[in-house]
Amino acid sequence: MTVQNIRALPKQAAAEDPSSPKKTSPTGSSSAPKISTLVLAPAIALAKPSQLLRIVREQAPTALLGCISLGALFLFWYLGTKYKVDFYIRFKNVPTPYAVLEEARTVGLSNKFFINVVDSLRRIISGFLIAILIGVPLGLVIGKYRLVRDLYMPAIEVLRPIPAIAWVPMAIMLWPTNEASIVFITFIGAFFPILLNTVHGVHSMDGVLIRAGRCLGANEVKLFWYVILPGTLPHIFTGLAVGMGVAWVSLIAAEMISGQYGVGYYTWEAYSLVNYPAIVLGMITIGILGLLCSGAIRLVGFIAMPWLAYSVGSKR
């Protein structure tokens, strides 16, 4: 029973640890369960509470450090505005957390702010999904075939560094509706990281796997589906996480077009009315939404790649 438990533990730990599949250190993942089971020996009969407790124990440092990380940021802001620090960096005019909270209270009452959030999420997710649909297949093909790579990469490398805000006038002219223009700009943000990470993923794949697949009689389509795609998934998910971040970064540029609704627009309008607390509220909202979206991607990645929990790379 105990032995079984110890063996089963790493799997369960991995399975029930959605937020940080990669964070467990080699020492942590191999020794920590043993210690915890030893310590918790009396409780082993009650398997469930013990597991829960252990998960809490393993997660506690992560959660604690997370709180410290965010807390330090908040403290920096709070102290900076409280003492109106003026030492090259100047907090004199930065709104205080309290002013932002007040602003949040006033807009929180209106469902207009909720519409802003929903609109922005819809735009980001649309642009992001289109970026996946185009970026991943294109990246796989570019990575696999040299001819395709030589044909596409120069154009991609030219388009890649163009900032989102520079695309605004072209986006208006290219697309028939405002929504399409906005989605296009968030797409541009997400597309390149996804594409390039996919290409990189194909390149860094172990050639042995592809040869093995060929020897076992896989045709090109099967090779892509059963070997290259799964082998590239970790890189693709890195690309997705980065792409999601950049999509949010380009949100203000995108929603300058909107003229109505969207967190990016809200922030932009606050700037044109010089309402500093509202600007900060917009910034924080974008930050939180971005965090949630990245979290969702990591969760999906974890579910899509269960084998990673056992791979050597994950126990770095």
């Binding site: 003492y83 620090v85 003026d86 030492f87 090259y88 960096i89 100047r90 004199k92 005019n93 605004v168 006038p169 208006i172 002219m173 028939p176 509706t177 405002n178 300058m256 077009i257 909107s258 003229g259 109505q260 627009y265 309008e269 700037y271 044109s272 009315l273 010089v274 500093y276």
Partner: protein, 481 residues
């Protein structure tokens, strides 16, 4: 290269300071004798040019800055910072990167209120240019659209830069016509975005401030269907300074206003040259610059702060307040005419008499086609001949006759200006509507209007018919033979 290196060094210092994370040394290092003055300009907003780009290019501020007394050892470092709207200037002023800024009436209010709320008080010290009846702000539609009047925009998508003078204008226009805010679907778009959207027919109408309501029609894809002059509420651009800066260096603020006055004189004395130079400096077409700042132009250059402007601002403030777009503002404490009075005194001019005057410099001269002196500026017209002079004519009919004549002579015309009979503002002749053939059939009267509605009203009252530019040209051709 140099800038990049500087930025890197600056970043390095910044990182070092942040890393150290100790708050000592409250004052930034600043050489005793070098005074950095940040000036926030709006070069593309044509009626602020005499407070910004003209001063910069002609070196007028340097000329007027004090160099004696306590300023003896001062070395001035002027930092001209250009933006396309007021809010970034306000932002810079709150951060104390900009000490002198210029913007339109509504952004000025936001500037004052933000300053008072954040302990960065600013003061309105002078006006750059005004239109006493609200002209300059306007609503434009795509030239192919079927909209000719405010009423045609019911239920349509209209964009305006929120918080701008144009925003205030359309709020007033709605109130004036007894319309509710849901009359149309109003969204916020900056001039750049709104112009592109209008060109692509993605919005039905775009309301904007100087120079866009004239610039977009001039560039050939838009039609102005409403002018702020209809609201009869003054609009203007003004100069704000940080209060602490003004109190510390009053002579510099006065010097700035004196430079502004000299720039105004320069424009009035050389309107054609000024329009050409401003086009060169700001890329706004000279014909558009001239319709605002030329003789009899839509804007009057006058630095005095008239009580009517202060009253207008108090009314504007209530508009913003109703929409919950502005913090509290003590307008009387914010307006300060001390510096502009001092500037008039220094120049030996009478401030109080200028305060009462609403006179612009008028279109004058001799009509070279009808051979009469130009005596009624409100009926005069002007033709800008490509590569040549700006000629003034005594009446719309004479102007159009001249257009026919010069075109027949093979001359290319840059622009033809007439004065709107109803709104009293200069209009581009090819964008106007005309009432022709009224009253006396022998000498057909040609009466120009910006708005089709006004031309129709005039015809209903006086007879005749409504005509386009082409029709009106035909009409005068018939008369001259």
């Amino acid at each position: 290269m140099g800038v990049a290196r500087l930025a890197r060094i600056e970043f390095g210092i910044f990182a070092l300071l942040m890393g150290a994370c100790i708050a000592v040394g409250p004052e930034r290092a600043r050489a005793e004798t070098t005074l950095q003055i940040g000036i926030g300009t709006q070069n593309t907003t044509t009626n602020t040019v005499t407070g910004g780009i003209v001063l910069k290019e002609l070196g007028l501020l340097e000329k007027h800055l004090p160099k004696t007394g306590k300023y003896q050892d001062f070395k001035y470092s002027l930092s001209w910072q250009n933006f396309t709207s007021g809010p970034p200037v306000t932002n810079g002023m709150m951060a104390d990167n900009i000490q002198i800024g210029m913007m339109g009436d509504y952004p000025l209010l936001v500037n004052g209120a933000t300053g008072q709320a954040t302990g960065n008080e600013t003061q309105l010290v002078a006006i750059i240019a005004y239109n006493a009846y609200g002209g300059g702000n306007g609503i434009v539609v795509h030239k192919d659209s079927p909209y000719f009047d405010l009423a045609d925009l019911k239920g349509k998508n209209v964009s305006v830069p929120f918080g701008s003078a144009a925003h205030g204008m359309i709020l007033h226009a709605l109130q004036m016509h007894g319309l509710t805010p849901d009359f149309w679907n109003l969204v916020s778009q900056s001039p750049e975005i709104g112009s592109t959207n209008l060109q692509e027919k993605r919005i039905d109408a775009h309301a904007d401030f100087v120079p866009f309501p004239e610039l977009l029609p001039f560039r050939g894809f838009a039609r102005k269907i409403y002018d702020g002059a209809d609201t009869k509420i003054p609009t203007f651009h003004g100069v704000v300074v940080r209060k602490d800066f003004g109190e510390k260096y009053p002579e510099i603020v006065t010097a700035y206003i004196e430079a502004l006055m000299e720039a105004n004189d320069w424009v009035r004395q050389n309107p054609k040259l000024a329009a050409e130079k401003v086009e060169q400096w700001t890329s706004i077409n000279k014909e558009v610059v001239y319709i605002f700042l030329g003789s009899g132009g839509i804007m009057t250059l006058d630095p005095t702060i008239k009580s009517a402007w202060v009253d207008a601002m108090k009314e504007d403030y209530t508009v913003l307040q109703k929409l919950n777009l502005i913090k509290p503002l003590n307008i009387d404490a914010w307006v300060n005419d001390k510096y502009v009075r001092q500037a008039f005194k220094d120049q030996g001019l009478d401030y109080d008499s200028q305060l009462k005057s609403l006179a612009n410099y008028d279109m004058t001269g001799n009509d070279p086609v009808c051979n009469v002196p130009v005596t009624h500026p409100a009926e005069a017209g002007q033709i800008w001949i490509d590569g040549g002079d700006i000629l003034t004519f005594s009446s719309p009919a004479c102007t159009l006759t001249a257009v026919k004549k010069y075109t027949a002579d093979g001359k290319k015309l840059d622009a033809v200006y007439l004065v709107d009979h109803e709104l009293g503002i200069k209009v581009f002749a090819d964008a106007a509507f005309y009432a022709i053939g009224g009253k006396d059939p022998k000498s057909p009267e040609v009466v120009p209007f910006l708005l089709k509605r006004n031309a129709e009203d005039y015809v209903a009252k006086n007879g005749g018919k409504v005509a386009t530019y082409a029709d009106a040209l035909e009409g005068v051709a018939g008369a001259s033979h």
